[in-house]
Symmetry: C2
Subunit: 100 residues, 2 copies
């Protein structure tokens, strides 16, 4: 599964579509952002993607962690955000209903 | 429950401590950020708070939404991030074990 890399100039709707597409295929998506502008675009895209996926019956949640990445030989600290179903989904199961 | 308001100059460790404190009391916390710098500080604080709360046995996840707020008579779009246990917790229950 490819990590979706977001920059400060990424279009949020395009990133949201990518997140939803990867999630539908893998039941999981990972987003990477470096810097305030990129993190902001990533979070806005996550809000949109949560809406898209809710239409498909998925109640998705996020976790975030720091992740060191090598950019042109320099180590930078990225934020990695993982998108998952709130409840564990077994392969073949229907998506869980939304929480009340 | 008070919403934790984060600015671009908020210290991430202080915000993370506030998130963990509110979560321990209410089993839920809400963080509000307006602008890229504030959203970035909020997400970094969320990463730290997830670590703090994991030490207490909580597996917390985030959801994010847009929220219109009135600042000095002007409507601005904030990002509101909600921190919750991954699994629903009934009052009086021990925190659920982390997912494998």
């Amino acid at each position: 599964m490819d990590v979706i890399k977001v920059s400060g100039t990424s279009r949020t709707s395009a990133v949201a579509g990518a997140i939803a597409g990867v999630f539908r295929e893998n039941k999981r998506a990972e987003v990477q952002a470096i810097g305030a502008g990129a993190v902001n675009q990533a979070v806005k895209a996550l809000v949109l993607s949560r809406g898209y996926l809710a239409e498909d019956g998925y109640d998705v949640v996020f976790t975030a962690e720091f992740s060191d990445v090598d950019i042109d030989g320099k180590v930078r600290t990225a934020i990695k955000i993982t998108v998952q179903s709130r409840l564990p989904v077994t392969a073949g199961d229907a998506p869980p209903p939304s929480s009340p």
